[in-house]
């Protein structure tokens, strides 16, 4: 795993972002940036060289799915790994995200180990 890539964490709840960031840091990632919704995420994606997006599903302004679709629509980001965080019991959402080309998804509530596992799956 390349630990120097920039990871963009998208969630409207700062604590959740912090949690994800904390786990990522423990795993050795150094460059982590944040966005509180899909819109800011898109503009940050265009400015920075992001190597992975971890995004929440349910956010105001622009949902995770809308963000995912917008990302996949751009040729430049077509292969950008994208992990979606979804809540339990939202199977339809998961399938929808998977069909939209999400690289992987994590069902909340999750443990640091799950995140690690999914990261391994994405980068293997």
């Amino acid at each position: 795993m390349n630990l120097s890539i920039t990871i963009l964490v998208v969630d409207d709840f700062a604590t959740m972002r912090r949690i994800v960031k904390g786990v990522l840091k423990k795993l050795g990632f150094r460059n982590i940036i944040e966005a509180e919704n899909g819109k800011t995420a898109l503009s940050k994606l265009k400015k920075e060289d992001v190597g992975l997006v971890i995004s929440d599903w349910n956010m105001p302004e622009m949902t995770g799915l809308e963000l995912l679709k917008a990302v996949k629509a751009e040729e430049k980001f077509k292969d950008l790994p994208f992990i979606m965080l979804t809540a339990e019991g939202q199977k339809d959402c998961v399938i929808e995200a998977v069909k939209a080309g999400v690289t992987n998804f994590i069902v909340k509530p999750f443990t640091p180990d799950t995140l690690k596992e999914k990261l391994n799956a994405v980068f293997s």
Binding site: R18, N58, I95, G101, N104, K108, F110, T111, A121, S124
Partner: protein
């Protein structure tokens, strides 16, 4: 045939994806799902049933694979190969041997369901692991954890406060999905983060709230005031738990507090259930609630019903002899009513408007009674006029009742505040106390409710702190180690009665007496009845508690209770049996706007004496009258000496009868002091609407207000406490 070509391409790419599919490769599964959807959509109409079915079965299997519900991918390559086979048959227009594919379709369907059972089992085990983890009492915290928790606390509290604001907005705009979604999000995130931080109770409650909002979002549930209340309650509980985390973090541990979230979750669940049944309560629940049927019987019957006996639940129960047909009819009636309740529409009204309405209706009642007493009308022989008058009478009294009831609120909310209090008190004192409540629906004047809270807190504290014994002492006395405090409310003869009862040790009359003597509240040789002794605890500065706790036992309290209740024109009584328990009985007028009074005449003036303070009225015998030094006049009423108060001395209004034995005396009691008022005549008992005397007459001492009588004239309502002070009768 372009269509077939396209599908052929789809199947080829599907086969390519399958070749190097791993259970972790979500992206590949996404591609497969998209291809399968395209195949389903583009499938020609004449395609064989098996082809379509197989495509759908494969898609179902891949979806489950994606969700991690199953892991075996071996069957997929075979399935895709079969799909290719069928497709080739179709291309060639052959129609043979489709049955051979039945098997793989079944295996895809069946295999997945069998495995998903396994997965479920596994996740169950996972759950139990979680629970075990949670029961680890305290986890040591790293500085990082503390940071996280602190962030969680501040952010969740903020999110919860926006929930409150949003709920208010939602009440005005119940269908605004953006607001619902924003509330949903708040709960959702709290749920997510708390789950990550292993805060199980918060997680659970937030989860249930989220579900509730989810149903509202999808339009399955209408958010009415009832639901809003539940959500607000849940917010309160969440806030409490989050606050206790905050406190815990300071001490370097994680604690959600020992709040039981089950009741509130149960309540949230009950709303979702009620709405499922078209707004009606389930019949079984009603039957059990009414005590007609056992839960066991109902469960049995429900099982039977599920087994496919197409019968109604009530019928099964009647046939089994668990309930009678009449019970069933009653319960069904209740059920219909419970369904209707949910569609009661409500309007919020400013209390000022309501007060004005009540006031104006009061005036209307008076004007109407003036009309009735009008000489022309009284002397009229017109039958029709009397009919119209009595109709008017009926309408005004109904109107008055309705207006009064508008200011009424159920006492439930006040009762419910006691639950927490009792719990905290019991915990602090190491006692086990259960609170039982009845009559929460009893309605009481909105203004009274607020005033009632403090005295009730005092009395409940008193019951738990002084009444209920420690579990050991209870056991030694042969009682259940868990004490009970009852809160009851009901209407009785125009009053609302509130009882606070405990099954504790009861009042110790000897000790109260001893203490009262010690404090000089009574003379050493006074003989008192039990109820008089109990009433001593309402004296200022009286406390029998041997230990002072941080909650009660400082010698203040019960006198304050009595004062506040009397301010509400109510009274409080005590019943107590040593070793069995104590009962406080509060009687309050239904409303503060109306007073029950005795109309008396003094010379040319008329006054109203509140009935609550009156002991009796009598014409004393000359021998019962004594005067001390010709100044202090006393009348012996039932072996008690009471000072005589003349209106002449206080209001400079002279009585026609100069001597008490010519007129009447009304014996009254205020704050434990008894005295007699000399009047000419008792005109009768009347319910009057109290009018404030207004700011210009603020300084007029001795009056609680004024009232307009049936003949349109004004009578002043006496304030016994002020009167007592003015007359100096209290000094005796």
């Amino acid at each position: 045939m372009e269509q077939m070509e396209q599908i052929g391409k789809h199947i080829e790419s599907l086969a390519l994806e399958v070749v190097d599919l791993t259970p972790e490769n979500i992206q590949a599964m996404g591609k497969m799902l998209n291809i399968l959807s395209s195949i389903e959509n583009e499938c020609p109409e004449n395609a064989s049933v098996e082809f379509k079915e197989l495509a759908i079965a494969i898609r179902g299997y891949v979806e489950q694979l994606t969700l991690g519900e199953i892991k075996d991918i071996g069957i997929l390559s075979q399935a895709v190969k079969s799909l290719q086979d069928i497709f080739r048959y179709m291309e060639r227009g052959e129609n043979a041997g489709y049955d051979q594919f039945r098997e793989i379709i079944e295996r895809l369907k069946k295999g997945s369901s069998a495995e998903s059972e396994e997965a479920k089992e596994e996740s169950k085990n996972k759950d139990s692991c979680l629970i075990e983890k949670a029961s680890e009492p305290e986890r040591s915290l790293s500085p990082e954890d503390i940071d996280l928790l602190q962030d969680f606390v501040s952010e969740s509290l903020e999110a919860l406060s926006t929930v409150e604001v949003n709920l208010v907005g939602l009440e005005q705009n119940p269908n605004d999905t953006e607001i619902i979604n924003s509330i949903f999000r708040s709960f959702h995130t709290i749920k997510g983060v708390s789950g990550f931080l292993n805060l199980n109770k918060i997680n659970k409650l937030a989860h249930h709230c989220e579900n509730l909002l989810d149903r509202a979002r999808s339009g399955e549930l209408v958010i009415d005031e009832n639901v809003t209340d539940f959500i607000l309650d849940a917010v309160d509980v969440l806030e409490k738990m989050i606050e206790s985390i905050q406190e815990g973090v300071k001490a370097g541990r994680v604690s959600e507090g020992d709040i039981n979230v089950k009741p509130i979750i149960g309540r949230i669940e009950s709303i979702t259930q009620v709405t499922e049944q078209t707004g009606q309560k389930p019949l079984g629940e009603i039957l059990v609630q009414e005590g007609v049927a056992d839960q066991v019987d109902v469960d049995h019957a429900l099982d039977e019903q599920e087994k496919g006996e197409n019968k109604k639940l009530g019928r099964i129960l009647v046939e089994k002899g668990a309930i009678s047909a009449k019970n069933l009819a009653d319960a069904l009636h209740k059920q219909r009513k419970s369904g209707g309740k949910n569609i009661d529409l409500q309007v919020k009204v400013d209390t000022k408007k309501l007060d004005t309405l009540v006031d104006m209706i009061g005036e209307l009642v008076i004007t109407q009674s003036m009309l009735r007493q009008n000489k022309t009308i009284v002397s009229s022989a017109d039958q029709k006029l009397f009919q119209t008058m009595s109709q008017l009478n009926q309408i005004t009294s109904t109107l008055q009742k309705t207006a009064m009831s508008m200011r009424m609120v159920p006492i439930r909310a006040t009762f419910q505040k006691m639950v927490r209090l009792v719990r905290d008190l019991a915990k602090n004192s190491g006692k086990r106390v259960r609170l039982e409540m009845s009559g929460g629906d009893t309605e009481i004047d909105r203004n009274v409710v607020d005033e009632l809270y403090d005295p009730m807190v005092h009395m409940v504290r008193n019951s738990v702190d002084h009444g209920i014994e420690s579990p050991e002492a209870r056991q030694a006395a042969g009682k259940d180690p868990e004490g009970v405090v009852w809160l009851r409310a009901y209407h009785r003869s125009g009053n609302i009665v509130i009882e606070i009862e405990d099954d504790g040790r009861g009042l110790d009359s000897d000790r109260i007496l001893e203490k009262a003597k010690e404090k000089g509240l009574i003379d050493q040789d006074t003989e008192l009845s039990d109820s008089d002794i109990y009433n001593l605890i309402f004296q200022p500065g009286f406390s029998t508690a041997r230990e002072v706790t941080d909650i009660s036992g400082r010698g203040v309290g019960m006198d304050v209770v009595k004062k506040s209740i009397e301010k509400l024109r109510g009274r409080v009584d005590i019943e107590s049996v040593a070793g069995k328990g104590t009962k406080f009985i509060i009687r309050l007028p239904l409303t503060l706007a109306i007073i029950d009074g005795m109309l008396v005449r003094v010379g040319k003036e008329r006054y109203i004496i509140p009935t609550l303070s009156i002991l009796e009225s009598l014409r004393p015998d000359r021998t019962k009258y004594t005067s001390v030094h010709g100044r202090m006049e006393v009348i012996r009423v039932r072996d008690k000496l009471m000072p005589l108060v003349r209106f002449e001395e206080i209001f400079h209004v002279s009585c026609d009868s100069k001597d008490p034995w010519d007129g009447l005396v009304v014996a009254v009691e205020q704050d434990g002091r008894q005295f007699c008022l000399l009047v000419d005549e008792v005109l009768g008992k009347e319910e009057v609407v109290i009018k404030s005397l207004g700011s210009s007459l603020m300084d007029a001492k001795g009056f609680a207000g004024g009232a307009i009588l049936g003949d349109g004239r004004v009578a002043l309502i006496l304030d016994m406490a002020e009167l007592c002070q003015l007359s100096g009768a209290g000094l005796v």
